[in-house]
């Protein structure tokens, strides 16, 4: 349903007006996992706007390199790399490569993840392992590699994890991602505690619905525009406002913030009413397990 015209919709400033100065990350290098597209690329662009050098890591080298070229066009030093974040040797090699080309990695954005609608009984062992281990093991491996290097240098740093708005409610029709994204949020708090003595901050954004080219929901018939009305805020998220919040947690402006999970979802995850539509089990939904396809 379209949003009625008398409703008031809060909108962010345009991409050209970031919330921090162009040199706030000057001299710093951020490594963005899953940075080749979608929300990872949005984070990479936000860090680039603040003057960071950006190492873009993705499973697909061509996409990572294309993203690096896009960041270079924004004026950033950038480098694209391929890496499977489930493999510790590859993670260590990627950090080596990033540091060789761009200098010490001082900031880390964990975005690598996979997600698709599927009934729990239809999730293959391979699919379960892929979705959970990219997010859970990948975040652990990248974060611990980052922390060891920061601790060895005696310098602090900041990590931002891309979690999801459904981490508190469950996500029927998406059991693998429901488990994976909550693990990211709970490890955020534990790692923040582990590394506070080393001045490494760890935070997460529990992100709502930010449609982009590679999101499953972005493929919805009629495009994401037809989904604006389902969000209390009256719109889906603009991907640059997600990138900004993620990057901002890593700035000195929020130097005292750690162990936090900030929900940015336009109220999507919150209850709207005591009365709800009749419950239809994901298996019986005509439009697929997420209920719209």
């Amino acid at each position: 349903m379209p949003v009625p015209s008398h409703h008031i919709i809060a909108v962010p400033p345009p991409f050209a007006e970031p919330p921090y100065p162009a040199n706030i990350f000057a001299g710093q290098t951020v490594l963005v996992s899953g940075g080749g597209s979608g929300m990872g690329l949005a984070m990479a662009r936000a860090f680039a706007q603040g003057g960071a050098s950006v190492a873009v890591m993705g499973r697909n080298l061509e996409k990572a390199q294309a993203a690096a070229r896009e960041l270079a066009a924004l004026g950033a030093s950038a480098h694209g790399m391929s890496c499977d974040v489930r493999l510790p040797e590859q993670v260590a090699a990627a950090f080596d490569e990033a540091e060789r080309i761009l200098g010490p990695v001082t900031l880390l954005a964990n975005n690598a993840g996979a997600n698709f609608p599927v009934l729990a009984e239809d999730i293959s062992v391979n699919a379960w392992n892929a979705v959970t281990r990219i997010a859970i093991d990948g975040t652990f491996l990248c974060s611990s590699e980052f922390a060891r290097r920061r601790i060895a240098r005696g310098e602090g740093g900041a990590i931002i994890n891309n979690s999801a708005q459904y981490i508190w409610t469950g996500f029927p029709g998406d059991a693998h991602s429901a488990a994976a994204k909550t693990a990211q949020a709970t490890m955020t708090k534990a790692m923040a505690r582990d590394w506070a003595p080393y001045r490494i901050r760890v935070n997460a954004v529990a992100a709502g619905f930010f449609p982009h080219e590679s999101s499953t929901a972005g493929q919805h018939e009629g495009g994401p525009e037809s989904l604006q009305g389902m969000i209390p805020a009256g719109r889906t998220g603009s991907i640059h406002e997600f990138g900004w919040l993620a990057a901002m947690t890593c700035t000195p402006m929020l130097a005292g913030m750690t162990g936090q999970v900030i929900v940015q979802d336009g109220g999507e995850s919150l209850r709207r009413s005591l009365m709800m539509p009749d419950f239809i089990p994901p298996r019986e939904r005509a439009e697929g397990p997420w209920g719209w396809r």
Partner: protein, 169 residues
């Protein structure tokens, strides 16, 4: 630090004491007002004394709930009515101590406030009014900056959020 005019052209009412928040709001371009119509309402509750529940009189209990949740609700409701009358959105940010930082009186008030935040965030979403809460022991620059962010259009997609600042929040 990095003042970017997040709140240029906006008016903000800060209820309660917080030099860091006042500095951040003004530093980001907001005009602080004491009363009347404004774009932003920030309410900072004075921490109550931490005492065991069996040592609290009902009057003391009531005072903590009054500052911690009742006044906050009534102020927000008046603010939202004003926004609606003027056909414009607004932002409300509540600030207080973490739920378990003080006594049972504060725990009750802070829990009530958290779910009030989520409720009003949805109830007023289509009025363009956002409602968020920071529950923290911190009082410095980071608190000021996160409150100014939540008050600004940069947080246009953040509503109904309850967050802390430091590790033990």
């Amino acid at each position: 630090m990095a003042l970017m005019g997040w709140l240029d052209g906006k008016t903000a009412q800060l209820v309660g004491e917080s030099p860091a928040i006042a500095a951040a709001l003004a530093g980001q371009g907001a005009t602080l007002v004491r009363e009347g119509n404004c774009d932003v309402l920030v309410h900072v509750a004075v921490p109550t004394l931490a005492r065991p529940a069996h040592e609290l009189s009902h009057a003391e209990w009531r005072a903590a709930l009054d500052i911690g949740v009742d006044q906050r609700f009534l102020l927000a409701r008046a603010f939202a009515a004003m926004c609606r009358a003027e056909r414009r959105g607004g932002a409300i940010v509540y600030v207080g101590a973490p739920e378990q930082a003080l006594g049972s009186d504060h725990a009750a008030a802070a829990g009530a406030l958290g779910n009030l935040t989520k409720t009003l965030g949805v109830e007023w979403a289509r009025d363009g009014i956002r409602v968020n809460t920071v529950l923290t022991r911190e009082a410095g620059e980071t608190l000021g900056n996160i409150v100014a962010y939540l008050a600004s259009d940069y947080a246009a997609y953040v509503t109904g959020a309850v967050m802390g600042v430091g590790l033990d929040d």
